[in-house]
Amino acid sequence: MSGRVIVITSGKGGVGKTTTNANIGTALARAGKKVVMIDTDLGLRNLDLLLGLENRIVYTIVDVVEERCKLKQALVKDKKNPNLCLLAAAQTRDKTAVTEEQLKDICEKLKKDFDFILVDCPAGIEQGFQNAVAGASEAIVVTTPEMSAVRDADRIIGLLEAKEEIKSYKLLLNRVRPNLIKSNDMMSVDDVVEILSAELIGIIPEDTGIITSTNKGEPIVNDEKSLAGKAYNNVARRIIGEDVPFLNLEEPQGVMAKIKKFFSGLTGKEK
């Protein structure tokens, strides 16, 4: 087996890198792929929380690098899906604890046993980013339709293009708010794609369900009814190579409007 190493990055913090990582990883595993996620955000680890695995971590990536344990010992299996593993970041160390070479080496070893290695990149463009990108050959750039996030994504794209090892990168547009786009208050998907001139791999709508799913440590792709979950599932299918059309994000608005109409109709009758 020779797995694909995909780094999930953004430049700006708080745009949803880790959420994206947890959800794409879970969706790929649900599709029957063997997936390992590497949290490279040393000192600020969070991927374990989103997956609900924080109490199961015994060894971290730093323990692997410093040879306190074998690589396989440090892989934490997901509660639900045996196809899914996590290699957690150390919370007590900083970005210098692991080097680019060491990360490359870990990725190479994991490629033999997994279909997908998802690398969760820290925010910023410093050493943490360089480390995370080192072992990857593909990248997903997460951004939101906000100016600062788009600007940072552009910077990241520039850096990725300069890296020979990165063969392709795709754009994932997160926290899209169709009603704001409709009223011309927010940049549209097309605007962002045109400005960054990058290929799109997913459009994720803003969804309050993300907050509850994070609180529960349960990725939203497990929720069949969630629109964001559906969108993340579609991203995973596109990664596998399926041709999936982008969701029509205006539909749920229509449903809401219908429900409102329905209720307003009822109250109208009561009067």
Binding site: R155, G158, L159, E161, N184, D185, M186, M187, I195, S197
Partner: protein
């Protein structure tokens, strides 16, 4: 002809401010982003752009009388390429005498500086602008849009590459 131009310019000015007022938050964001990304991608700081603009004004005012404050020099995205767009509102073309005088003045300056190779290029620009003035239709309220020479495009592209290489 001059009056018509002036009229068009005034009308154009008001039209511009009107559209600016109704610009949506989304358009503002897109436009601001485009400008800032051009700067990010090319290393051309606002100071350098301003300097370039000033030098353009100095150079071109030898040949045409223009609205110096309205001259716009912007980097724009044209597909994958970055283009340098120069928009010059021409008030009137200078007559031969004036151009000659300006050039002579320039020549004496250049003799001091000991460099005269750029003169040929300037003449080319001069011809281009004069052609544009003649072709400009009456109802055209837009200032002359001049796509800068290819080599300038090239140089900004090169800068882009340089930047990426360094990174």
């Amino acid at each position: 002809m001059i009056l018509a131009n002036l009229y068009n310019k005034v009308i154009g000015f008001f039209r511009q401010t009107e559209t600016q007022e109704t610009e949506s938050a989304k358009e503002t964001a897109c436009n601001r982003l485009r400008v800032v990304l051009m700067q990010d991608r090319t290393n051309l700081t606002p100071e350098l752009m301003e300097r370039m603009r000033k030098e353009m004004v100095e150079l071109l005012s030898k040949y045409v009388e223009m609205d110096k404050d309205a001259l716009e020099l912007n980097l724009e995205q044209d597909g994958d390429q970055v283009a340098l767009m120069l928009s010059i509102p021409v008030i009137r073309a200078k007559d031969e005498e004036e151009i000659k005088a300006a050039l002579e003045e320039e020549e004496t300056k250049e003799e001091i500086k000991d460099e005269d190779e750029s003169l040929e290029d300037e003449k080319d620009i001069d011809e281009d602008i004069e052609e544009d003035i003649e072709e400009m239709p009456e109802e055209n309220s837009d200032p002359i849009e001049e796509n800068e020479e290819e080599d300038e495009k090239e140089s900004s592209k090169e800068q882009l590459k340089d930047k990426k290489d360094r990174e």
